[in-house]
Symmetry: C2
Subunit: 410 residues, 2 copies
């Protein structure tokens, strides 16, 4: 709640500002802001017992840790409190003893981004905004469109004209005003920023809005609670623009600072080999450099990460492990996760699992480690790549003899 | 729990049998069996207070009403306890005062069928089976594949060779043995039955297995509890082979018989105009006749409904209202639901809402009625039809002048 918020602090220049509902980037240097909390005040109100008795089954379960006045008066989708599974079979195949899956594909619009968009909708209401806007073709856009539709906010969503029709259709179904821009993603982003300024819309661009990360951190709060506050050694997830991994780290730090967990996990930052600017910066010790976007995992194909500062801080502070995986390893992980656990993730959704597999194989993590792998989006978002991963079934004529033949081979 | 189960009774000839884990159809007449409970025993254990204090957040919350010994030892996906929303904006557009949405597309494999498949997996373990099988191309198959994968059961799933690749890929991702049969759906079903007999696999065909409906009924139990046990006047849903509407009715009757609700809703049975054998039977008073399968709502394109007896009983007993809707009305409902509520349903998933709209327009239900509309499956299961429903976005060059022009028109 806002009474626990001390302010907003620039992660680049350290400038401090009040945390207003429509606060954006640092007015001095343009850096991203980070919301700062009064942890001792939170710790006075929250403990394990308080949480055990709490009824709310959504991301808003953790109100004391969230930068909102309240939840407003508008209807909400039920975001968060997603399933958490222990998978012994997956652990076995990975050569690990303790492996947990956090399935964030089971969210109203089927990705972890619902957490950020739900937060954006609440802050937009606080800010007295009438309309919310962003530029994106992916899960940020669909989650904004869905969460805003439930709340009755009109949305303007800017997409580059190359955006896949299926994703655009989801936006249209939710009644967003979709502006297809005949140009690159950069052109599209620029036009959206101009329009937001001109019309005074609420800004849900993750490169700008410091509250989105605070929504995303709820996945970490849930993981800790679903582990009964006994943290694992590692938490693995895919990394694109960096906002999610920064949010996850913030969540764990919040819990640690308030005495809810007694140790922090190391983060396993998994990127695609063909697009790994953040992991490369960690591995080389150099500043990050833009990269091409050569991966089929579209949700993390981000050559110019917009939350690089926060993401690199998170990986370094956690003594994190960067792992890069090939597209084939991503496709293999989709099958592995589905077959052993019944969880169907989109390519970026299973990239974390691909990274865990590789980290074990490379000896980067020991086999007696405990690991959580976050699945960030639902496989139904990208069935063409599921087909690529899954292969073709056996085909037979409708006769028992043909089946018997097949059964012998299987 | 099984101590509350009295037995299984044929809905056609009235024959009574013990409820064994692998009980199928009536050995005398081939009719579907119905599981019979000792309601007074349930009523002694369950009341509103007991439910209020219960922690379990899944379909297994209602163990006293379910025909299982326990939940076995295998891992499970978290099925059920899906979101329930009051939507004033949708109510307003429909001309109703009270409209609720039960979003069962937010389930592990994204449809209500997860409830039936989760039940099948538990009963298969009770029966000591090693393998589970079914024939289907749709949500029954994907939900079986996913729930069985989590539990570590191998599955054999028979699909006709015309099955869409996207749906087959979901099965392959979950590691099912998929047998693509070069023939019609009838050929496929017949081969699956032969194979099930030959190999002793556990049978998850809804035409055969009486427990599946008991899984599905949990959606009704949840609706009643999410309404704080104050039932609405109507509950609307799409109807295909009849198993779901029969399950929903069974759930409400169970609650009524045990004093948990004090009245029963009327069911609104919504079918596609191009494939409405059950509604036609209700409307004409004649026995049901097979129909062509002319609708884009593939999950309810069932010309030969396999649970006709139970479904017709349910509609008649509830003094139900049959409503048939066109494919265009289904597509319109997808947009209406998305735009007003942020819920994205597949065509069969929004057919219930299309039926509510039509029922109000035709004066079949009064405007002061309270209605629940069940969304049975996620729109991500069928993005081509979402595209058909949603239309195209506005396309402009990346210039502010072009945007200003568009904004004036919007």
């Amino acid at each position: 709640m806002m009474k626990h918020v001390l302010g907003a602090k620039c992660v680049r220049c350290g400038g401090e500002y009040p945390a207003l509902p429509d606060t954006t980037t640092c007015p001095r240097c343009g850096g991203m802001l980070d919301i700062v909390y009064d942890y001792s005040a939170i710790a006075k109100e929250v403990n394990h017992k308080v949480m055990r008795d709490r009824q709310e089954q959504s991301m808003w379960r953790y109100l004391e840790y969230l930068p909102v006045e309240g939840l407003g008066k508008r209807p909400r989708l039920r975001v968060g409190w997603s399933p958490f599974y222990r998978s012994e079979r997956l652990a076995g195949e990975l050569g690990l003893q303790h492996l947990y899956i956090k399935d964030d594909g089971v969210n109203p619009t089927a990705s972890l981004k619902d957490r950020a968009s739900a937060m954006a909708v609440v802050k937009a209401e606080e800010a007295g905004a009438n309309t919310i806007a962003c530029s994106s073709t992916g899960n940020a856009a669909s989650s904004l469109a869905g969460n805003a539709a439930a709340a009755g906010f009109p949305t303007y969503i800017f997409v580059p004209s190359r955006a896949p029709k299926g994703k655009v259709s989801q936006l249209m179904i939710f009644g967003a005003h979709v502006i297809s821009v005949q140009g690159s993603y950069e052109d599209t982003f620029r036009l959206s920023q101009q329009a937001i300024e001109q019309y005074g819309w609420y800004n849900r661009n993750a490169a700008i809005n410091p509250y989105l990360m605070e929504g995303k951190k709820t996945v970490a709060l849930e993981i800790a609670e679903q582990l009964h506050w006994r943290m694992t050694d590692y938490v693995a997830l895919s990394v694109g623009d960096g906002c999610t991994i920064a949010g996850v780290w913030k969540g764990f730090k919040d819990l640690y600072a308030t005495g809810m967990i007694d140790r922090l996990p190391r983060l396993i930052s998994v990127q695609a080999e063909g697009c790994c600017p953040l992991n490369r910066a960690i591995q080389t010790g150099e500043p990050w450099q833009p990269m091409e976007e050569n991966t089929l995992a579209d949700s993390i194909a981000v050559g110019v990460p917009r939350n690089a500062d926060k993401a690199l801080n998170a990986i370094r502070e956690s003594n994190g492990i960067p792992v890069n995986v090939s597209d084939q390893e991503i496709l293999d992980a989709a099958k592995l996760l589905g077959r052993t656990s019944g969880v169907f993730g989109e390519p970026a959704g299973v990239t974390g699992t691909a990274g865990v597999k590789k980290a074990v194989e490379l000896g980067l993590i020991p086999s007696d480690a405990s690991v959580v792998s976050i699945v960030t989006g639902n496989g139904l978002k990208d069935t063409p790549n599921a087909i690529k991963a899954a292969g073709e079934p056996v085909s037979i004529p409708p006769e028992m003899d043909a089946l018997l033949d097949v059964m012998e081979k299987l």
